[in-house]
């Protein structure tokens, strides 16, 4: 193709060929535009559906009672819908997952990017990425069979099915994301920075701690937010190991039911358009707003970080 073009540029057909090229470009341009628009349409569609199915729940239960109510009896007569237990459970589980996965994940990323020899990095990173591909139901099984008895005996609990077990499993699932994205971010820090740091007499640790990590902070923040998003949205694992109790959990060692598990375990017997169906969509709406807030905060942090390190 290229050879033909170059031989033709001197002759007359050059103009026609260029027009054809422009047409092709236009086509590809509009294709990309359509692809971009499609995601926005899908997003708007999801929001519209959540609002349409979820908002009517608030005619039956006012929003404050829905959010702060502590009783969830969807199949009683009359039903009561209060999602405080689920909301607090989601917060606990996410908190545990973040508290475990962020320090380990960032440390692991710093090791891989700054300390590890190339050979180690090139073997370890793909293995970590395989961890991300383990299906969540398999993680649920591992939590149920291996981790929950361990947690039960280690913390002397009545049952190993609790928020802590779920949080630990979720931390394992968000670790690969945090490590992978943070490591990429650390590697984009220019070598000039490191060299300048060494030239000033800083040790390796001081360089990593005061130069590389602050330099890559925007990327690391994005990594953490992605990990948090994974933990908030994960369903199957928490359904299997979080215990599913309906009380507002006061400690992470209580059995609990996060919002995703509440939707998954309730949607099957909800008749389309019924009260329970609407209430479950309203939980979905709450969950959506929560993840949206996490993303917005992440965007703000990223923006501020970018301005700080503008170069």
């Amino acid at each position: 193709m290229l050879g033909k073009t170059s031989s033709n540029t001197t002759a007359e057909p050059g103009e026609a060929l260029r027009r054809r090229w422009r047409l092709g470009e236009k086509l590809i341009e509009s294709w990309i535009f359509l692809a971009g628009i499609l995601t926005i349409i899908v997003l708007l569609g999801i929001i519209a559906l959540l609002l349409k199915e979820g908002l009517p729940a608030f005619w039956y239960t006012p929003p404050w009672e829905f959010l702060f109510g502590t009783k969830w009896y969807p199949i009683s007569e009359p039903p009561t819908f209060g999602i405080m237990p689920f909301f607090v459970a989601t917060l606990w589980v996410t908190l545990v997952a973040t508290a475990i996965s962020v320090p380990i994940g960032v440390a692991c990323a710093a090791y891989l990017a700054e300390v590890a020899p190339t050979k180690v990095r090139e073997t370890v990173k793909p293995i970590i990425e395989i961890l991300a591909g383990i299906p969540s139901v398999v993680m649920g099984f591992i939590g149920l069979m291996l981790l929950s008895p361990l947690v039960q005996s280690a913390f002397n609990l009545n049952t190993g099915l609790c928020g802590l077990t779920a949080g630990i499993m979720l931390s394992l699932m968000s670790l690969p994301i945090i490590i992978s994205v943070s490591e990429d971010a650390l590697r984009t820090v220019p070598d000039d920075f490191r060299e300048a740091s060494y030239a000033l007499g800083a040790t390796k640790w001081e360089t990593v701690r005061h130069v590389c990590i602050p330099g890559a902070l925007s990327g690391i923040t994005a990594a953490v937010m992605l990990g948090v998003g994974r933990a908030i949205g994960e369903t199957m694992t928490v359904l299997m190991v979080a215990g599913g109790a309906l009380a507002v959990p006061v400690s992470p060692t209580d059995p609990m039911m996060p919002m995703t598990a509440a939707i998954a375990s309730g949607i099957g017997n909800a008749v389309r358009g019924g009260l329970q169906y609407q209430a479950l969509f309203a939980i979905g709406l709450t969950l959506f707003i929560l993840t949206l807030a996490v993303n917005l905060i992440a965007a703000r942090v990223l923006e501020r970080q970018k301005r700080k390190f503008a170069r």
């Binding site: 009545n158 109790a245 009380a247 039911m257 375990s265 019924g274």
Partner: protein, 291 residues
């Protein structure tokens, strides 16, 4: 190389299409979809397997997410047979009729809803009132019912489950007893698990746990409790005999629901389930036959 790929690709697609069409038309027979109760699933699965051996042209799919799911599927018209471990509610019948579905009830077996604990638990019998208090969270320690001084881990099924609903009405709310109280609900500390099997395996591994599986799910690893209707009556262990002679207090029907009276292959299948051969399978699975 690239040119050859362009020839191979359509060939592969066409072959795949032809194979799919042949596979679809080759089946030719009919299919039955059964969904609903987790309790009934082991029974329906055996019936389906045996029926498909006799009638290879029929394919039957069984899934057991819970009676509530099955009844919702019946109302939404997405299943042929709904298996249920509780009776359909009046509100559900109204919803079904609004959708043009007429629920038709057939009892296929009986279950003695068993209450199980860890084999090391010294408690061997409980009254309905005590069970109710355990599941509402009023009694939280085994020593209040004659056991060790440890906290009770009360395990239940989630709200999809017919067993959840049956247990709530007949045990938690004590239906039919003088102490009946319709306002009672499961306590906040009760664990709600998505499957019966998970509940049984939790009890098998946790000395403080209590759970209520159908008789067919009771294994050697857990200990069924004798149930006392009132404090002065004698405790009755769940079994085929005690369910048949009516002495076991929390026996319940296992049901099939269809849209209107069953016809055609669905009728053949249900007739097989109710035949003496089908009822023998009921005992094999561990439930109670109709006769």
């Amino acid at each position: 190389m690239r040119k050859r790929l362009f020839i191979i690709l359509p060939v592969v697609v066409v072959v795949a299409l032809i194979v799919t069409i042949i596979a679809l038309s080759g089946r030719g027979g009919s299919s039955i979809k059964i969904t609903g109760s987790n309790t009934v699933t082991p029974l329906s699965s055996i019936w389906a397997e045996e029926f498909m051996k006799i009638h290879p042209e029929v394919s039957i799919g069984v899934s057991g997410p819970g009676s509530g799911v099955g009844i919702a599927a019946l109302i939404n018209g997405t299943t042929d047979i709904c298996q249920a471990s509780r009776k359909i509610k009046q509100t559900e019948i109204d919803q079904a009729e609004a959708n043009g579905v007429e629920p038709y009830e057939i009892q296929v077996a009986t279950d003695a809803l068993s209450v199980v604990v860890h084999p090391s638990n010294p408690v061997s019998e409980l009254t309905i009132v005590q069970l109710s208090a355990i599941y509402t969270g009023e009694i939280t320690n085994w020593n209040e019912v004659g056991g060790n001084d440890v906290e009770i881990v009360a395990i239940a099924r989630d709200t999809n489950s017919g067993t959840h609903v049956f247990f709530k009405e007949h045990v938690v709310q004590m239906q039919g007893l003088p102490t009946e109280d319709k306002s009672l609900e499961y306590g906040g500390d009760v664990l709600m698990l998505p499957s019966t099997k998970e509940g049984v395996s939790q009890v098998a591994s946790n000395p403080n746990a209590i759970f209520y599986p159908g008789l067919g799910y009771v294994t050697e690893e857990v200990k069924p409790l004798a149930i006392k209707q009132t404090a002065d009556s004698t405790g009755v262990l769940p079994s085929v005999q005690t369910a048949l002679d009516g002495t076991y207090p929390i026996a319940r029907p296992l049901l099939f629901y269809t849209d209107g009276e069953p016809t055609g292959v669905i009728k053949d299948f249900i007739d097989y389930c109710l035949s003496s051969e089908g009822q023998e399978k009921v005992i094999e699975v561990g439930y109670v036959p109709l006769q």
